[in-house]
Symmetry: C2
Subunit: 226 residues, 2 copies
């Protein structure tokens, strides 16, 4: 019973399962739960001081996001997808992001554009600070802002799901990017094209950006010798 003893009142605004899912997600991304590890709902629930029911639901949420895999009648595992599978997901993510950029050029309000620019600026300032995680999260926020600017809720939601699924691997690549300055340049190019509402240029810039991502991931897998 290492968990917090105070029993939260039911029907909270942000549900308990989501809170648990957030917790587990952080554990996975931070590496406390390594890929391939078992997630036993009894133990984890006890450790967090909650019952199995919300823990179950939290695990389902993460399974939906692709961070854990469910096996029939067996403990769920932290996902450990092979390179090909991740590459496939990156392809889809790229398509979603290009669609986002394209739609944003057509439908984004000035407010949307301003928000994207603001996040890009913030990314630039946090880029050289020590907090890698904060910088990375701002990076993700940049892409999320573009998806939001598409003014297509379904697209933004699906994009968010893919981003979550690739979160960990992107975090791993972000700390070993050979030329980290390229990221800044690429973001600048995307932002520039977006502000001009140049659909072709946006597509090209995103192609470049996520193309290097695929290459980075490949390198990561090679050095890890998975």
């Amino acid at each position: 019973m290492a968990g917090n003893p105070e029993r939260p009142s039911p029907m909270a605004e942000h549900s308990l399962p989501e809170h648990i899912a957030d917790e587990l997600r952080r554990d996975i991304l931070r590496g406390k739960l390594v890929p391939g590890a078992q997630i036993k709902e009894r133990d984890n629930a006890a450790e967090m001081g909650v019952s199995r029911t919300p823990m179950r639901e939290a695990i389902r949420i993460l399974a939906q996001e692709g961070l854990v895999v469910l096996r029939p009648a067996r403990s769920p595992l932290v996902a450990d997808p092979p390179f090909d599978e991740i590459a496939d997901q990156v392809v889809v993510l790229l398509a979603l992001e290009k669609l986002s950029g394209d739609l944003a050029c057509q439908h984004a309000t000035q407010d949307d554009m301003d928000r994207v620019r603001a996040v890009a600026d913030r990314f630039e300032t946090t880029f050289y600070t020590a907090d890698r995680l904060a910088s990375f999260e701002t990076d993700m926020e940049f892409h999320t802002a573009i998806a939001a600017a598409s003014r297509n809720r379904a697209l933004a939601e699906t994009h968010r799901a893919y981003l979550a699924r690739l979160w960990r691997i992107r975090y791993l690549t972000s700390r070993r990017r050979r030329n980290r300055a390229t990221v800044l340049d690429q973001h600048a190019a995307i932002l520039d094209a977006l502000l001009k509402r140049d659909r072709v240029a946006v597509g090209a810039a995103l192609d470049t950006h996520l193309g290097t991502l695929t290459e980075d991931i490949r390198q990561l897998f090679i050095t890890e010798e998975t």
Copy 2:
């Protein structure tokens, strides 16, 4: 207790929640559960002779698919999205399907192509039979076969999710399509381009096909005066 009395043994191959979800999905698509209706987990669970736990999970599955919406501390509802939201989803579906076609041109095996052709043939034969539902399901199978031919599992899965979400509305439009023969022509065009592995032509054919879908949906909303 109108449900079947035999208690199925746990750990079945196809889990109970999925089975319940299938049941509910059919009820929604067939119109037994109309959009906007409440889904009370207690009542529905009792009606199907299962407990609330698997019913809950089934409802989450459908929520994930977008067929039902969850409200905090309230009964889930059968989704009843406004036109704009559905239009947004169709835009994403179109993008996914164009990506599928594009990748299929590059990576599909001959077997994949044969399967697509087989489904297209089957659709043509069932098209004029009385069973609208069977014909419609074959139509959906055609699009699923293309997604499978992309050889991208993530893409196929996301595509499947969107297809499920739009299942009902597409079923409704399929029975009021003004010129039903166009569908056959459009499918033929898609198949033709696909077999030639002509990426541009596939994209164009899919644009046409799903363009008419959007128009059909718009008409449906106008006549329904939602």
